[in-house]
Amino acid sequence: MSTTLVETTYREAMREAMREAMQRDERVFLMGEDVGAYGGCFAVSLGLLEEFGPERIRDTPLSESAFVGAGIGAAIAGMRPIVEIMTVNFSLLALDQIINNAATLSHMSGGQVSVPVVIRMTTGAGRQLAAQHSHSLEGWYGHIPGIKLLAPATVEDARGMLWPALQDPDPVLIFEHGTLYPMPGSLAPDAAPVDISRAAVRRPGKDVTLLTYGGSLPKVMAAAEELATTGIEPEVVDLRVLRPLDDETIVGSVRRTHRAVIVDEGWRTGSLAAEITTRLVEQCFFDLDGPVQRVCSAEVPMPYAKHLEEAALPQVATIVAAARQVVSG
């Protein structure tokens, strides 16, 4: 097996992950709107229909409640379905199935029923799709016991998270930020599965901890570079798992740096950033040398116009300013 790395993209990495899963386990199949003939709204499943056929690459009618419910039912009955909801914005139509059935059945049935389904959704803003197509609702789903949430932010995670998610006996939701699909990266041809329970320190540092996930990671890494030129050494933590949160890594980092900035594309009120801030106050109050800073989207329906959307979203400059504020302030 050659060890030379393969140039690929986030999108192709996810496609390869699905192909590998279906080759290894006949219980695995893909279901969603336009995943087959059209090749996937974001071309993630391009070519899979030709390789695996319509039985395992199933285009569905526009009935999110039905096909997500069907995915849950098939999982109950022994399959390992991958259900693709085109975007998190349409997942609102399937909330009843996800929350009242998928997340609840195991506990409510006293452990008899388990729902090994993986639900993938594209998330986030930044492509001028306006309010109804730009939501970041990870905070909502992060509120629900009974499901697990993953946010692959790197090509390696896009390639390695799916297989362990499919092995998990409980529902796993995977949020793929829309801007990440074309992101280039290199991978070993036989890339191994990755851990899906821990956060990752993407850049070690000592003066302030920058906590983020998914589509915001590239902006945070850029902000970290800029801060480094001014003598501030930030530590960047990529959450990777949004539920259950990896308190150990998060708290461990802030205990070292004594300062925290959380970058989250969701709206600040009741967001994932709000939950993480609460955990920092609960678990390292006496390590905080300044209040936790949150860089979130402005609390507005995402506007279409580019300059407005940019003003609403967290940006490198606002991340740098927040970090400076907590370090020197």
């Binding site: 004594h258 109050f285 006496f286 390590d287 905080l288 040398d289 300044g290 302030g329």
Partner: protein, 438 residues
């Protein structure tokens, strides 16, 4: 015989009211037959019997609200005779004592509740005393924002002082200060609006003197150690000296009045009043209450007045009367007696022997009128007190005999200058003119 009880018709229903009976005693009813109409908060509903049989006594009258489970009527098996008294339809009989709990008002009258201690304490804490209000105003502290730590929530002087020095401190800085033994009140914050940050605390910690290890076993410093200490003081500390005469008339007469109705054990000697005045003055002028270390003045965390005590056989020790500025005069007196007693019997604590923040030498009892002492390093001030003497003294232009005492200050010119020393003595003099406030 069995009961027909008020059924529960929903998770949130815990009582119901009989609107109308649909049966009368003696009626034969089949299982499932409607017995009465019950009104719950939402609507009127027919309730049914789960047994067939003969209706006995109707125990609850229409219009009466009863809890779920309360017996509404008795049911007789077929053939059983209903109770003797025929009952008109619709009017429920008085509930028989045996089955229905006695109505509540019949219970023994409850004695009027005596306000327990807790209720009294819950009343508003006693109003702060006038001098305290004055003290708070002086330090710019809003008493409403201060929570008293005295009995019944009384605000004490210490509470006010603490409130005056409440800088904003980050939690990490507060923890660090505790670990490094740094007095936060003395740290100036460099964060926004004066917030004390971690590096401020670290800076303060580096500047703090290493407290010389003092063993409690050596209560008496022998001549050699005293000699070494005194020569180091003279060698390193550029002393300046200032002195003044204080009219002790007000203090002495006040003491005579208060001592008259005090038992011997509680009597207060002038020396205690003097010590109290020095302590209060030191709190007002913190530049004299601390240490000179590596070229930097480090203020003491509180006022601990070292009291020079001659301990038999010529030895000398100057243990600290700790937190002297917080000890009201009578309390300070007892503390002083206790301190001197323990100094003489060698039972001083480590804290008392650790450096006092300034020292007082009272040689009045030894007969000298004026003392110019040597500062105990690393302190920056020493107050000398002479003998209380009756002397001719001009008061408002008239000549009179007044009890006078000579106060002196030896100051470390690196930390303060004569101007500050003089103001310090003047402050002590002024405090001694208001003995009731000591």
């Amino acid at each position: 015989m069995s009961d027909f009880t008020m059924p529960s018709l929903g998770a949130d229903m815990d009582s119901g009211t009989i609107v109308e009976w649909l049966v009368k005693p003696g009626d034969h009813v089949q299982r499932g037959a409607p017995m009465a109409v019950v009104d719950t908060d939402k609507a009127a509903v027919e309730i049914e019997t789960f047994q067939s049989g003969v209706v006995g006594d109707l125990l609850v009258e229409p219009g009466q609200r009863v809890d779920v489970g309360t017996p509404l009527a008795t049911m007789l098996a077929a053939g059983e005779a209903p109770s003797a008294a025929p009952v008109s339809v619709g009017k429920a009989k008085r509930p028989r004592a045996r089955r229905v709990p006695p109505p509540r008002e019949a219970a023994a009258p409850v004695p009027p509740a005596v306000p327990r201690e807790a209720e009294v304490a819950a009343a508003a804490p006693p109003a702060p005393s006038p001098p305290l209000r004055h003290h708070a105003a002086e330090l710019g502290v809003d008493l409403a924002s201060v929570t008293g730590t005295g009995t019944h929530g009384r605000i004490t002087r210490r509470d006010v002082d603490a409130a005056a020095h409440r800088p904003r401190v980050s939690p990490y800085a507060r923890r660090l200060a505790e670990e490094l033994g740094v007095d936060l009140a003395a740290v100036t914050g460099t964060g926004t609006s004066g917030t004390v940050r971690a590096e401020d605390v670290r800076a303060a910690a580096h500047a703090r003197p290493e407290v010389p290890p003092v063993s409690t076993e050596a209560p008496r410093s022998d001549r050699a150690t005293i000699a070494a200490l005194m020569s180091r003081s003279k060698r390193e500390i550029p002393h300046y000296y200032v002195a003044t005469t204080v009219d002790m008339h007000t203090v002495v007469s006040w003491l005579r009045d208060t001592n008259r109705d005090r038992s011997v054990a509680e009597r207060i000697v002038p020396a205690a009043a003097l010590l109290r005045a020095v302590a209060l003055a030191a709190r007002r002028m913190p530049q004299l209450n601390g240490f000179w270390v590596d070229g930097v003045f480090v203020p003491g965390e509180d006022v601990h007045v070292g009291v020079a005590i001659s301990v038999r056989r010529g030895a000398l020790v100057a243990p600290a009367l700790r937190h002297a500025a917080d000890l009201e005069l009578p309390v300070l007196m007892q503390a002083l007696r206790d301190l001197v007693g323990r100094a003489r019997s060698g039972r001083l604590t480590r804290a008392e022997l650790a450096d006092p923040t300034l020292t007082v030498t009272d040689l009045g009892d030894q007969g000298v009128e004026e003392v110019f002492g040597v500062i105990q390093p690393p302190q920056v001030a020493l107050v000398g007190i002479g003998r209380l003497v009756e002397r001719p003294w001009a008061v408002d232009g008239l000549l009179g005999v007044r009890p006078l005492v000579r106060l002196s200050l030896s100051g470390d010119h690196r930390a303060t200058d004569g101007y500050t020393g003089a103001r310090f003595l003047a402050t002590i003099d002024d405090l001694l003119q208001h003995p009731e406030a000591l």
